[in-house]
């Protein structure tokens, strides 16, 4: 009977690990499957196209050119290789101010016809229309060729304007740089504090002190991140603004400060455990050789615990990179390449959280957010591989 139970529990354990493994794998496959579709999409919004008059010599526009034309930053055709004429922008909705629904016929059957007439009559027009209503077999009009979103546009582009119509721009470089910058500075702030507190708690503090401090620090980990964000926006941002003499308080540095506070409990708890795991025999041996307390800490305890401490730091970095809500609230979320620490930045998790809600399912914006998730996943994967390497190396040295 006992044997059967044992077998049962064993298979249960086996199954749960298999389920976990498969779930992780499925999530990764899902992430990449949704994201990679982006590189097959046209730069112009799905289901829409750009139409011009055949007299217009322009045949092809890049995503940036399209954006600048529709923002009235480019106002003359000669700037994009056409003749010297002012550009007239025509958005699809304008047709409804020119004709009533009755004039457009039942089920909008006359709509393509009317659109065609407008385009035929103006050689300077550029019209942004749903593919469905592009007039077919009509002379005098032509569709513009547009590019497919390329990997270099995505990874090296510096403009993130995912909702721009007709042509959205998905340059993730500012987001990647923003994420790495905020996390890196956060960890630079958190390491000396965290490791310092861990050494104090494990080596110097009295038992009573430790009993009070440790739960207090662990409590820090229990505060919801949105509370940290609120605290950052209302308290830390004005202080950063005042002390730094800045025009605004929502900067990368503010985000780093908050993230540093949030990473502290992880770093402190894990490195303190590692430090305390140093065998008593090692310490005693050190004292027996005549080393004082500082020498023992510095030469024996810290080297022994170093792999645990690096693991703590790496986990802290992981926490900082993936943190969403607090960063969303304090960094100002401006998607520009940061030139200094005291400028607003937009991070990858904040972008996904803020934009996924309204991104139409399956569209380019949606796909680009999934791809951002893939990028974030790869960054954390690299970090955990590095942490494996570091802790592995130290153990061999022992």
């Amino acid at each position: 009977m006992n044997k059967v139970l044992e077998k049962f529990v064993e298979s249960l354990l086996k199954m749960s690990s298999a389920v976990t493994g498969i779930t992780v794998l499925l999530i990764i496959i899902f992430l990449f499957k949704e994201g990679l579709g982006l590189f097959k999409s046209s730069t112009v919004e799905k289901g829409y196209t750009l139409v011009v008059n055949t007299q217009n010599p322009v045949n092809r526009l890049t995503a940036v050119e399209i954006k600048e034309i529709f923002d009235s930053e480019i106002e003359n055709w000669k700037d994009v290789g056409g003749s010297n004429e002012d550009i007239r922008i025509f958005r699809f909705d304008e047709i409804f101010t020119m004709y009533s629904d009755e004039e457009l016929g039942e089920d909008y059957s006359l709509l393509p016809q009317k659109l065609g007439e407008i385009i035929q009559s103006d050689s300077t027009i550029i019209a942004f229309l749903p593919l469905k209503y592009v007039p077919k077999n009509m002379s005098g009009i032509k569709e513009l060729k547009t590019d497919i979103i390329s990997t270099s546009d995505f990874f090296l582009g510096t403009i993130w304007l995912p909702t721009a119509t007709p042509s959205a721009l998905f340059g993730i470089l500012p987001l990647v740089v923003g994420t790495l910058l905020v996390s890196f500075i956060a960890i630079v702030i958190a390491i000396p504090f965290g490791v310092g507190v861990a050494i104090y708690l494990s080596e110097i503090a009295s038992e009573r002190m430790r009993k009070i401090m440790k739960p207090a620090i662990e409590l820090l980990a229990g505060i919801p991140s949105v509370v940290y964000g609120f605290f950052g926006l209302v308290v830390v941002a004005p202080i950063v603004q005042k002390v730094g003499g800045l025009t605004l308080g929502e900067t990368a540095f503010t985000g780093s400060l908050i993230l540093a506070i949030m990473a502290l409990p992880t770093i402190i708890t894990i490195s303190e455990d590692a430090l305390r795991n140093t065998p008593k025999a090692m310490r005693d041996a050190s004292y027996a050789l005549g080393a004082n307390r500082w020498q023992t800490i510095y030469k024996v305890v810290i080297p022994y615990a170093s792999s645990g401490i690096s693991a703590a730091i790496i986990l802290g970095i992981g926490r900082a990179i993936g943190e969403t809500m607090a960063v969303l609230m304090v960094t100002g979320n401006a998607a520009v390449m940061p030139h200094s620490l005291f400028e607003s930045v937009r991070t990858i998790p904040a972008t996904i959280a803020a934009e996924l809600g309204e991104a139409p399912g399956g569209g380019t914006h949606y796909q680009s957010l999934f791809l951002l998730g893939c990028v974030l996943f790869l960054i954390t994967l690299i970090i955990s591989i590095i942490s494996e390497k570091i802790s592995g190396r130290k153990i061999i040295k022992e």
Partner: protein, 270 residues
């Protein structure tokens, strides 16, 4: 025994679920719908209506999928959304339940008290970057925007920016509360929020839509008589409605329901 109790619970839950009227969509309309339901339940305690947010687009998608009875929206239904509903054989009906107006707000110490639409467009598209260009102090302008998922973001882009894109790298906040907080502590800031959210921590600007001929103060009265320009309707969309849903919408349109509208800080339809 246990099993039968469980099935009974499941059946009761699904039954009550199927009778409840579901409303879904815009977060701007959400507080209003909640208050309306409260008021409606006082009249009809047996009524069962549930409401969830998520954004205008989410609501209309849910209407298309049939997972909601009414979609609440802070923008007009888009042409292609209407087409998709028509393809699914659903004729969509529209009711305006209230109006919402946007205020342009700045830091209270800012000398500027009025702007034209053209100036606002240039500020939010990054063409004007210093307050002295619009009659203020020599100070950098810091425009704040809402996140792209917000219906307010879309409406402001349509009405004030005339469909141009916001400047690259505009500061964006996930919620209206964040905008108020940031503007109240940043001297050169400018942003936009719904009327109901304006507090004395920020200053609301007068706006002109006729190139500076007249500047209109953002007050409820001005929004009501349509002289204040940045006003948008709040909609309910539905395809076919049960008696319960119909009587709820009728209730909102009665003077009692419209009282709730002004209590929440929106503008009544009459």
């Amino acid at each position: 025994m246990k099993k039968s109790i469980l099935t009974a619970i499941v059946i009761i839950l699904t039954l009550s679920g199927s009778y409840a009227q579901k409303i879904k969509g815009s977060d701007t309309v959400l507080p209003l719908t909640q208050e309306e339901i409260e008021a409606y339940k006082k009249e009809k305690p047996s009524a069962s209506i549930s409401v969830t947010g998520g954004g205008s687009g989410v609501g209309i998608t849910a209407l298309l999928n049939g997972t909601t009875d009414i979609a609440q929206s802070s923008r007009k239904i888009k042409f292609d959304e209407k087409q998709k509903l028509a393809e699914a054989g659903k004729a969509v009906k529209e009711v305006i339940i209230a109006y919402d107006a946007l205020s342009i707000v700045v830091h209270p110490s800012n000398k500027v008290s009025q702007l034209t639409r053209e100036q606002l467009e240039k500020i939010f598209t990054g063409k004007i970057t210093n307050w002295k260009e619009v009659g203020g102090d020599d100070m950098k302008i810091i425009p704040y925007s809402r996140e792209t998922s917000s219906g307010t973001y879309e409406f402001f882009k349509e009405s004030v920016l005339k469909n141009k894109n916001y400047m690259n790298g505009i500061l964006s906040m996930p919620a209206t509360g964040g905008i108020i907080q940031s503007i109240s502590q940043t001297k050169g800031a400018i942003g936009y929020v719904g009327f109901a959210y304006v507090t004395d921590k920020v200053k609301a600007l007068n706006v002109s839509y006729n190139n500076g001929k007249t500047f209109i103060e953002p007050t409820i009265a001005n929004a009501k008589n349509k002289s204040y320009p940045i006003v948008r309707p709040l909609y309910y969309y539905y395809t076919n409605l049960s008696a319960e849903g119909k009587s709820f919408i009728d209730f909102i349109l009665t003077p009692k329901g419209q009282n709730v509208v002004s209590k929440v800080g929106y503008i009544t339809i009459k």
